[in-house]
Symmetry: C3
Amino acid sequence: MPALPVETRLDIADLYAEYAAALDDGDLEKWPDFFTEECVYQLIPRDNYDRGLPLAVIRCESRAMLRDRVVAVRDTTMYEPRYVRHYITGIRIVEASDDVIRVRANYMVLETLADAHTRILNAGRYLDEVVREDGGLRFREKLCVYDSVLVPNTIVYPI
Amino acid sequence: MPALPVETRLDIADLYAEYAAALDDGDLEKWPDFFTEECVYQLIPRDNYDRGLPLAVIRCESRAMLRDRVVAVRDTTMYEPRYVRHYITGIRIVEASDDVIRVRANYMVLETLADAHTRILNAGRYLDEVVREDGGLRFREKLCVYDSVLVPNTIVYPI
Amino acid sequence: MPALPVETRLDIADLYAEYAAALDDGDLEKWPDFFTEECVYQLIPRDNYDRGLPLAVIRCESRAMLRDRVVAVRDTTMYEPRYVRHYITGIRIVEASDDVIRVRANYMVLETLADAHTRILNAGRYLDEVVREDGGLRFREKLCVYDSVLVPNTIVYPI
């Protein structure tokens, strides 16, 4: 792969930092804006992904569907209030063309319920496609492939 | 925000890496040197911070107070020996002027007691002000806003 | 230390991201290729390391020994299938000459067993020597100094 400009590599790191910050600050309404209008967001267990099974726990195919999802999360009163926090490491560009930058990273999401200790909610890797749009970077595709088949109910929250 | 020089962005990342290394290596005496003489260091629960309540678990307002704190931690024999380890991700510069660089990051501190498994001690975000001084970077303000209201006794250690 | 070129600093970050990805993807056979032919890989408890005791849990002294180790891990059927995931933060270059780049970093390895929640397997710091070889970067030495004396059986897997 031809070496990307240093600025691009740092901009990619910034994209993930801003993505995490929006979710961790509870600014759910900002979440769809990290994606292009036509996009794919999937949360899929690693066992399924590795076997080529298409079954995802969550699959959204446009920014409009992501917006619906935000409303659903906001309206889901059945689950206790909690904080989430994203730790994204090992961000690396595996392919880059004029059209798209393919990025891989490891993520870990912690959650903290009221009166409880912080614990690991979900861990896995991102398999993403990033494009330049309106002078910024957006996800055209984000696959969240997580390691544990045990999924807490609360994983309704964006990963 | 105008783009910062690449070197500055990497220097900021180095600052956090060195901060973590000093604490994780047990070099507590180095900790105050990461701050300016006049400074603010606070450890504050997220619930309080979000509601605008000023109540912090720990608040130091000068490098001298940080030094006192190091002595207090060293002399606190009531708590078992343990190792801590900082994982700082999502470091991003949210504002930069000639005077100050405002930085946000997520942190997770693990602790390991003798004969015990490693566990999560504290997780949250840093809301920091960094200034250039004596050719290096120092914290003029560091707010550690943590997610869990459950605070182990052992959080006397710098976060 | 003279400032290293920005590209070198980012290449070091990429090295760790690729190292983590190879292990986390289960591409164990790629692991020895991250090392030079003559190399040292050690997994050593912090208590021993800090006291200058040479006792390591695992010690390999060449790429050939690393290859043997991969075979051993593959053939060890006594342990349950699991996923591991590496989170490497605070990567910093502490020394650089024409010959070698000395790097420190914090690492955390999570593991996920089938039908279990993700948990912390091992946490500590890397004390590494990186050299340029065949146009890429390789580890001439990697010391994994971990915080907990409690070592799960499953730590046979490369850290």
